[in-house]
């Protein structure tokens, strides 16, 4: 069956609105994806039909809500091929998941230990580790990048040693779209006894990682970049690691017994899910996974590859076009500058034409410093974008160039 983008677009109400008097061309999908009606409906239905607190009420509504929330956990478990459902921890998003692990590791690291991050990281994957190192006296090492915007894998052996206890790398770079060779990093890290956390925030809307096959220790992602709502995400941790980490926050639901003398912590996953969770968000995360499964991640990847190739070719015809991130493995993200024009100026003019792109350093200042630029214009495509929208982008950039030069 051919990929029917018109039918898919009909599922997304927001794609039919206008911005500044022009049809919206939404190319900021790496910041957040748009939501299909099925996901929006799941939130409305929860609040209209069975809103109740979960895991504690004896009444029917509470049971319905609990079932729906736990059903979503199982959907996530199956989607990522996770061995046990209690290895799926609901978080408020990727950043929360990273901080939860960083906090936990502050009890496991000692002065002299090393933590390795990649040079392609988002700030949310640098700052928590810097804080962790400050608390524990561990050292932060960096795996460098090269001019293509890919990781310098030949240098991995120089920064990885028996002192390395933790390795943090994003699955896909948010600034450039580079797909990192996480299989190799995980394998080499395990050879020296280090645990690996992969930030999958940018990956899960484009591909479907098999977490058991990857043999990764921790994997974090956010629902809102994969057609789900904001404020909910997943932390996957191998059971053995999650048992080792102390609870992150105190509160209701994370305890099994409390007296003033001693508190016994609840079993996984509740140990890390203190307080009332984002119930509607969790259920809608499940609905988003259903939706992505219905379209099919393979079909999505294939279609997005076409969009990427087309956009790369068409943008390449613009004089002065410089694309950052030119490695062989990348997702449908194009980070670029045109001549000496400031990315902010291009983004502003594009906005007037109803075209939404991201401009700036994309919370990845080290990447921008490497290229010695203030930032880039980033166009990121989703499976509901079209070649016509890419034409609109290319025309928009040409117009901006004419006005700004």
């Amino acid at each position: 069956m051919p990929f029917d983008v018109a039918a898919i677009r009909a599922d997304f109400p927001i794609l039919h609105r206008q911005v500044n008097g022009k049809p919206l061309v939404y190319l900021d999908n790496a910041a957040t994806s748009q939501k299909p009606q099925a996901v929006i409906d799941s939130i409305v239905e929860y609040y209209s039909r069975y809103n109740a607190n979960i895991h504690r009420g004896v009444h029917s509504l509470s049971q319905e809500a609990t079932d729906a929330f736990e059903q979503a956990r199982i959907k996530i478990q199956k989607h990522f091929n996770i061995a046990k459902k209690h290895e799926v921890i609901f978080t408020s998003g990727t950043t929360h998941g990273i901080n939860l692990v960083a906090q936990g590791f502050s009890n496991l690291l000692e002065a002299g230990d090393e933590v390795l991050v990649s040079a392609l990281e988002h700030h949310s994957n640098i700052v928590p580790w810097q804080m962790l190192c400050e608390r524990t006296g561990a050292r932060l090492e960096v795996l460098p990048m090269n001019a293509e915007g890919t990781l310098a894998m030949d240098q991995l052996k120089n920064v990885l040693s028996s002192k390395t206890k933790l390795v943090f790398v994003n699955h896909i770079s948010n600034a450039l779209g580079t797909i990192n060779p996480i299989e190799e990093i995980i394998q080499k890290a395990h050879q020296v006894g280090a645990a690996v956390l992969v930030d999958g925030a940018q990956a899960c809307s484009h591909l479907q990682p098999d977490l058991q096959a990857l043999n990764v220790d921790f994997y974090v992602t956010s629902a809102h970049k994969m057609c789900g709502p904001t404020g909910i995400g997943m932390l996957y941790g191998k059971e053995s690691w999650l048992e080792k980490l102390p609870p992150y926050q105190g509160g209701g639901e994370m305890i099994s017994e409390v007296t003033f003398e001693k508190t016994t912590y609840a079993e996984l996953p509740h140990k890390f899910e203190a307080g009332t969770p984002n119930i509607a968000g969790g259920i809608a995360f499940g609905a988003a996974i259903d939706y992505l499964q219905h379209i099919g991640l393979d079909a999505i990847a294939q279609y997005e590859a076409e969009l990427l190739a087309y956009a790369t070719q068409e943008l390449g015809t613009i004089e002065g076009m410089k694309i950052y991130g030119t490695g062989p493995d990348k997702t449908s993200v194009i980070s670029f500058n045109v001549g000496e024009i400031h990315p902010y100026d291009i983004g502003t003019i594009l906005d007037q034409m109803g075209i939404a792109v991201r401009t700036g350093h994309h919370c990845a200042q080290p990447v921008m410093q490497y290229f010695n630029i203030p930032g880039t214009v980033r166009a990121s495509f989703a499976f509901y974008n079209t070649k016509e929208e890419i034409d609109a982008l290319v025309n928009g950039v040409r117009k901006a160039q004419m006005m700004l030069s």
């Binding site: 400031h342 100026d345 502003t348 700004l404």
Partner: protein, 142 residues
């Protein structure tokens, strides 16, 4: 010319253009009229935080009037600064401190120049007023 007169003048200028592209073109042209600042003056302490592009703002007191000079690495931002400098530069500090800034809504680039945009407009106005307030205090002490 008073601050409010200058504001009315700018609003009138922009009202000549119907099309957003022409308004932006005018803004960009205004940015090009900004006097160039020597690279040595573009120092960290003159950078305004809160802008997506870099904005350097410098102020001095000449004959009891505040003189602003500024620059940016983005041309639309330069246009915005050029408007602000035309309005606020060469004015008594007290007048700058008390000036209203709602004329920006009337220029017709409201969506773009609205305070919630990450263009640093608010930060620029605040910094200009802070300089003016410092000069005003300094003058009152003499």
């Amino acid at each position: 010319m008073s601050i409010s007169k200058k504001q009315q003048e700018i609003v009138a200028e922009f009202s000549l253009f119907d099309d957003w592209m022409d308004k932006y073109q005018h803004l960009i042209e205004m940015g090009k009229t900004l006097p160039l600042i020597d690279a040595s003056e573009k120092t960290e302490d003159k950078l305004i935080k809160g802008c997506q592009s870099k904005v350097w703002l410098h102020a001095q007191l000449n004959d009891d009037r505040v003189v602003f000079t500024a620059d940016s690495d983005a041309v639309i931002t330069k246009g915005i600064i050029a408007i602000l400098i035309r309005v606020f530069s060469m004015q008594p500090p007290e007048a700058v401190v008390q000036a209203k800034t709602d004329f920006i809504d009337e220029i017709g680039l409201k969506e773009h120049l609205s305070p919630t945009r990450a263009n640093g407009l608010v930060a620029m106005i605040k910094q200009m007023k802070l300089y003016a307030l410092a000069f005003e205090t300094q003058m009152n002490e003499q």
